[in-house]
């Protein structure tokens, strides 16, 4: 099978899986490219950031139109994520690959732990969490709420942007808890707003990679197209499949990838 087709299929898989689990594709694309295709880590991060822009803008179009994303909040927090992303992308140019691999392994462990918590939470708790949130059941427009602790959230968004620019992920794993737990937004609003925000964040980080020469057009094109198609497919499938089982599979995959990344970090 031609390598371009394999790259496109990997992109479809990452996009589908990511959309079904509410993650950006970055957390999957970087390991796929580095472990599966032997792509250098900084090149994989640059490619991943562009894929994150594609998935974010595609999904955000739907979320914005449906009124789920809080544009004011997203744009305000972008001030922090953009600064963080640029800093992260610059740091990546100087940081040893082993350090980046170690940080990525740590991020994977954190992501897996978050997923496990979600899987273990009883279904009734999820229902209770979404109670009073008209967006939770049917994905309708966002309810009225007041965003709290904006300066603290902007501080958190700098951290999310830093992870994005340095590791090639969307940063949603940090932004969603910040918007939901720190600022008090309903969970669906937090997810949709984070999704809108990650496009701006990833774009700001991607420029450093694009202009530094860390992006291979021939390698990136099939992955981006695959991810865009996969994200659309995942959005359709997520309503029909059991995301708890999917989440459990994801935790196993992420655990394996975290070990491989950790081994890379220690040079084994």
């Amino acid at each position: 099978m031609p390598i371009e087709l394999l790259l496109a299929l990997s992109g479809v898989a990452a996009g589908t899986f990511g959309a079904m689990l509410g993650l950006g594709g970055g957390i999957l694309i970087v390991p796929i490219l580095t472990i599966g295709f032997g792509v250098p880590l900084t090149e994989a991060v640059g490619t991943s950031l562009i894929c994150v822009v594609a998935t974010s803008t595609g999904a955000a179009a739907v979320n914005v139109r449906a009124g789920r994303a809080d544009l004011r909040l997203g744009i305000t927090l972008a001030a922090g994520t953009v600064v963080g992303a640029v800093t992260g992308a610059i740091l990546a140019g100087f940081m040893p690959e082993r350090v980046i691999a170690g940080l990525f392994a740590a991020l994977l462990v954190y992501t897996a732990a978050t997923m496990v918590r979600g899987i273990l939470r009883p279904a009734s708790a999820s229902a209770e969490r979404d109670a009073g949130d008209p967006t939770a059941a049917d994905g309708g427009a966002a309810p009225a709420y007041r965003a709290r602790r904006v300066p603290l959230a902007i501080g958190g968004s700098v951290l999310a942007g830093n992870a994005s620019g340095l590791l090639g992920v969307g940063g949603g794993i940090v932004i969603v808890p910040v918007v939901h737990l720190v600022m008090g937004a309903p969970i669906r609003v937090a997810v949709a707003t984070s999704n809108f925000l990650t496009g701006m964040t990833a774009a700001a980080g991607a420029y450093a990679y694009l202009f530094r020469g860390d992006v291979d057009a021939r390698l990136t094109a099939p992955v981006v197209v695959g991810v865009a198609l996969g994200a659309a497919l995942g959005a359709v499938l997520s309503a029909r499949l059991n995301t708890r089982i999917l989440g459990a599979i994801f935790v196993v995959v992420v655990g394996y990838v975290a070990v491989r990344m950790a081994l890379r970090a220690i040079g084994a």
């Binding site: 371009e4 090149e43 562009i50 822009v53 594609a54 803008t57 595609g58 955000a60 179009a61 739907v62 914005v64 139109r65 009124g67 809080d70 544009l71 004011r72 909040l73 744009i75 305000t76 972008a78 001030a79 953009v82 600064v83 992303a85 640029v86 140019g93 966002a142 309810p143 009225a144 709420y145 007041r146 965003a147 904006v150 496009g199 701006m200 990833a202 774009a203 700001a204 980080g205 991607a206 420029y207 450093a208 694009l210 202009f211 530094r212 020469g213 860390d214 992006v215 291979d216 057009a217 021939r218 390698l219 990136t220 094109a221 099939p222 981006v224 197209v225 865009a228």
Partner: protein
């Protein structure tokens, strides 16, 4: 930053414009990227490998078209912010106009810095 009746009043043009730019911008950029890739593959052009996007776009090839699509995709958030600023201006939300333009300036600044410094490091 409160989702209030004022936001819902301002929402139609803001959400319509932003969603439109996001949707059609993504479709156009991905189509250009795919077109460049198909062109490069069908014409048997050798892969240009990793190089600065400026150098990549300079050559007349499928990879140049792909690189232009990749850059276009990353410029989409700036277009979104420009449209959002216009919608906020129309709704006379001057504070949000300032914040939106400030974020756009930050992203443009990162683009300019990458274009100037990026190829040298």
């Amino acid at each position: 930053m409160t989702r209030t009746a004022r936001e819902r009043t301002a929402a139609p043009p803001l959400t319509r414009w932003v969603a439109g730019v996001l949707r059609w911008g993504t479709v156009a950029a991905v189509a250009v990227i795919a077109g460049g890739f198909v062109w490069a593959t069908l014409s048997g052009q050798p892969a240009s490998g990793t190089r600065s996007v400026v150098d990549a776009i300079g050559a007349w090839s499928g990879d140049a078209l792909t690189a232009a699509g990749l850059l276009g995709l990353t410029l989409l958030p700036i277009a979104v912010l420009a449209v959002a600023a216009a919608a906020f201006w129309r709704a006379r939300e001057l504070r949000m106009v300032a914040i939106t333009l400030g974020v756009a300036a930050l992203i443009l600044g990162s683009l300019a810095a990458a274009a100037i410094v990026g190829p040298t490091i």
